[in-house]
Amino acid sequence: MNGVPELLILRLLEAREMYGYELVQAIRAKTNDAISLGEGVVYPALHALEREGALKSRRKLVNGRTRVYYTVTRKGGKHLAGLVRHWTHITQAVGHAIGDARHAAATL
């Protein structure tokens, strides 16, 4: 699961800026609840990405409440592209391995 929260966060924030609760709901919706972490755990990832310069935040008053909205920076976009390449490579490799194992089982 290393890097998965960062990948999901950057991918979703690339589309539009969101605050933490919104982002968690979007992650749940996009992954069909397959990834169930404590929802509060998203914030350390957001803070770390912001510190690395991959995200930037701004406070916005919405319905009388101040929300911290996050958005992806240009650096974050490059970071996301790297993560996507990495995960595509991993999933393809695992897919091949599973496919080979199935093929071997079928021929036996």
Binding site: Y21, Y43, P44, H47, R65, V68
Partner: protein
């Protein structure tokens, strides 16, 4: 809407060395998130306490919330990552920087006054010169006597805010008090032009050494008293009550 206070979580994070600004923002975001989760639970039919319990469960348990922050070393404060730099080198750097700033400001003002005298043909009265000398002396006294105590207070505040170990804070405060006691910045009005002398009683030929010992002891006594008063105030029942209410 009643909210969990997250006091214990805040203490855990600060003691683990997470930077106070990240802790403050994290707690604020968790509170907002909790509010949203309670609203969501109530909208789907849960009542009061049940909605809050469901919200807390979704937010994650305290161990996970702490572990999430600790897994990212970049969120730790500089003081917790490099305590030797902040509380070991910091006092010396602060004292040197303090004196340099004091001298640079003084020279800047002197240059301005000299320029004004030359360009505007201003000839100050002897009383004005005396006042100016007095102002310079007061400034030097502040830089020499008050600045070390100010730096000691600053180190103490950094340490207390970030829940640093008392040993580090004590080392930093003691260093700034002792080294600061031996520094000296003197202005001599020679009548035709002023002279400034910057000395430390800790280097050969150890000028004003006994005075330096007395000043260092006085700095330590003042800092220790302030520390004791702060600790006493923090541990008093009224303070705890008001902190819990806030």
């Amino acid at each position: 809407m009643p909210q969990p206070r997250f006091d214990h979580l805040r203490e855990c994070l600060l003691r683990a060395g997470i930077a106070p600004r990240h802790v403050r923002r994290y707690i604020g975001e968790l509170r907002d998130h909790f509010d949203d989760l309670v609203r969501e639970a109530k909208a789907s039919g849960a009542l009061g306490a049940a909605a809050e319990a469901a919200a807390l469960a979704r937010l994650g348990n305290e161990n996970d919330l702490v572990a999430g922050m600790l897994a990212r070393p970049g969120l730790r404060s500089i003081a917790s990552r490099y305590p030797w730099a902040v509380f070991g080198l910091g006092p010396v750097a602060m004292l040197i920087a303090g004196l340099v700033v004091a001298v640079v400001v003084e020279i800047g003002v002197l240059d301005l006054v000299t320029l004004a005298m030359r360009e505007l043909g201003w000839k100050p009265q002897p009383s004005a010169l005396k006042t100016f000398t007095l102002v310079v002396e007061v400034w030097n006294t502040l830089a020499v006597y008050a600045a070390p105590l100010g730096f000691a207070a600053l180190l103490f505040m950094i340490g207390a805010r970030q829940r640093m170990s008392s040993a580090w804070v004590f080392a930093g405060v003691a260093m700034v008090c002792i080294f600061g006691g031996f520094q000296n910045l003197v202005w001599y009005d020679t009548g035709t032009r002023g002279e400034m002398m910057l000395t430390t009683g800790l280097l050969h030929p150890y000028p004003h050494f006994p005075e330096g010992v007395a000043r260092a002891a006085a700095n330590l006594a003042v800092s220790a008293t302030a520390w004791w008063l702060f600790m006493r105030r923090r541990s008093s029942p009224e303070t705890e009550l008001s902190a819990n209410a806030g």
